[in-house]
Amino acid sequence: MKFKCILNGWAPNVKAQAEELNSFMNSFLGNGANPASTILFYANHEDRHSLPGLVPTECAEFVRIDRCQPETILEALQRIEDKEDTSLYLFPAGFAGAELAVRWAFRQKGSSLVQVEQVAPREGCLIAKKKAYADHVLAAFRLTRQPFCISPANGSVDRLPIAARDNLQIIEHDLTGLREDAFARDSQRIPAEQAKDLGAGKFLVVGGRGLGSKEHVKQLKDVAAAMGAEFGISRPVALNAWGPMQWLIGVSGTIARPDVCIAAGVSGAAAFYAGIEKSKIIIAINSDPQARIIKAADVAIIDDYKTVMDELLKILKPIKPAI
């Protein structure tokens, strides 16, 4: 099955996206068994030299465009891919990847699935699995029409570093000047408040709606910092604007992989739990003994989160954890 990876060299996290696709390919599409190449979009001449290090396949096409809007990328793809016989396109897990997968499949009269956890080619079809029912269920789909366009779920695979290649075959395209009539204009970028990689910390404290107020969120963040832990929040906390969206843990935010995770005042909904499920130890602090998080944790304390965390800080602060 001939397949292509699509990467957006514009995204600041393009390296992470490339490493995730590399891992996804390795896990599900047989190591080198299927002929593969990569199409990489980029903007500036200065970025050109770093592109080869992002390519997880033996062949690559580097496409220079001057707008990173999906509309432009789709049109550029149409120009270079029109008569191709690619069976499968693999888009990255980021926002743009899922969007491009669906729209590209529609334009190519193929089939698509996004937030995919696993894929397996079978008898000319593709079996792909993703979560549904607010993440309580893994649903399997049969994709029947080629090209299959897939985008993996956020954090569904680890990152696999890209091996350096001396014999990378490269085709270059310059498609600047496409889509002068862009429908979205005067674009202002507002960078994320926190660029730090929340998913990489070893010790994580997460606060949920049980914290009750913006002030309490700030207090718990300070307690976490004093313990040497990163701090994340659940979706209702972010939606109440008690903390910025960049701190969100869960399927819609960061999938964390810490050694220790303390979940305070969260009920443990599946869409949240996916964000801490890869922790080695999960500690829940919740005042409700019936909360779902209790059974989904390794250790639980049934009590008011605030008093417990304050007591824990008294013990931890003088110690300074080594992780």
Binding site: D135, F183, E311
Partner: protein, 271 residues
């Protein structure tokens, strides 16, 4: 300016108990006995439409709000609330079967409705439904209408009669752009967008209006190219050891001594 918000009422599955998670012969989980809520992204979409309407009023830009769901009669209470919130038309299209995992069909019905029944300037949808979680409907609707699409909007403001200012999530933060209509907008994680409640007065004055119900006779369905073939319940159980103690201080001490100390001192963690 005409705005159509598309939404789907979803059973609140957090209310299900562990033993309620059973897959039936029709490849569904029976959720008929739990309350239907608005999907979380759709709730934001509806409130953002109302905020846009308030701001347009202030600028003297005429704006008409409409709402559409492709769903059974279970959605009626939500549609009545939307009437009371002064949505001009609230429409329900009765599907022949459950379209939970058929975003292509839903997008096709939405785009046919817009083309053949009520042309709009903007279609607002959630980026993802709570139960189907397909995350495809807005994108497919945009393709079918041949309109551009802005995804994961967190704020929509009026600019003039032909443009909106949309702030939306992108890979490295947010972008704020002036967007030409017509377009499709999918709503992302937008803070402070819980749906307002209609006043009692508005419930009485507007909430009793008839809901327009259309049947599938008016619509054609495309072939599905992604077929659901199986569902598997995910379980998330761990040891769940509950620490007993007389006071929070005592519990914190046990937590530290027995569970945290070995890990925090840098020792290898085993699960």
């Amino acid at each position: 300016m005409k705005i159509l918000v598309c939404f789907k009422a979803a059973p609140n599955v957090e209310m299900l108990l562990e033993e309620d998670w059973v897959i039936n012969n029709e490849l569904q989980v029976d959720t008929s006995f739990v309350r239907n809520d608005l999907g979380s992204y759709e709730e934001s979409a509806l409130e953002m439409a109302l905020k846009l309407s308030d701001a347009s009023d202030d600028l003297g830009i005429p704006l008409e709000l409409n709402a559409l769901t492709v769903d059974g009669s279970g959605a009626t209470p939500i549609l009545k609330t939307l009437s009371a919130l002064r949505f001009a038309t609230v429409v329900r299209i009765q599907p022949r079967n459950n379209l939970l995992f058929q975003p292509t069909a839903v997008a096709s019905i939405i785009s046919q409705y817009i083309r053949q029944h009520a042309l709009q300037d903007v279609v607002l949808l959630g980026r993802q439904s709570d139960i189907g979680e397909n995350a495809k409907t807005p994108l497919l609707a945009a393709e079918m209408l041949g309109w551009p699409c802005i995804t994961r909007a967190t704020r929509i403001e009026p600019a003039d009669k032909k443009h909106l200012i949309v702030t939306h999530q992108v890979d490295d933060g947010y972008a704020r752009e002036k967007v030409r209509m017509p377009c499709v907008i999918s709503v992302g994680d937008a803070p402070c967008t819980y749906l307002r409640k209609p006043t009692l007065r508005d419930r009485l004055d507007y909430g009793k209006k008839d809901i327009e119900v259309l049947t599938m006779e008016d619509f054609q369905l495309p072939a599905e190219t992604e077929m659901l073939t199986g569902l598997e319940i995910l379980h998330h159980e761990r040891a769940g050891v509950v620490i007993e103690g007389k006071s929070p201080a005592e519990k914190a001490k046990v937590l530290y001594e027995e569970h945290l100390k070995p890990v925090l001192s840098g020792k290898e963690v085993k699960r």
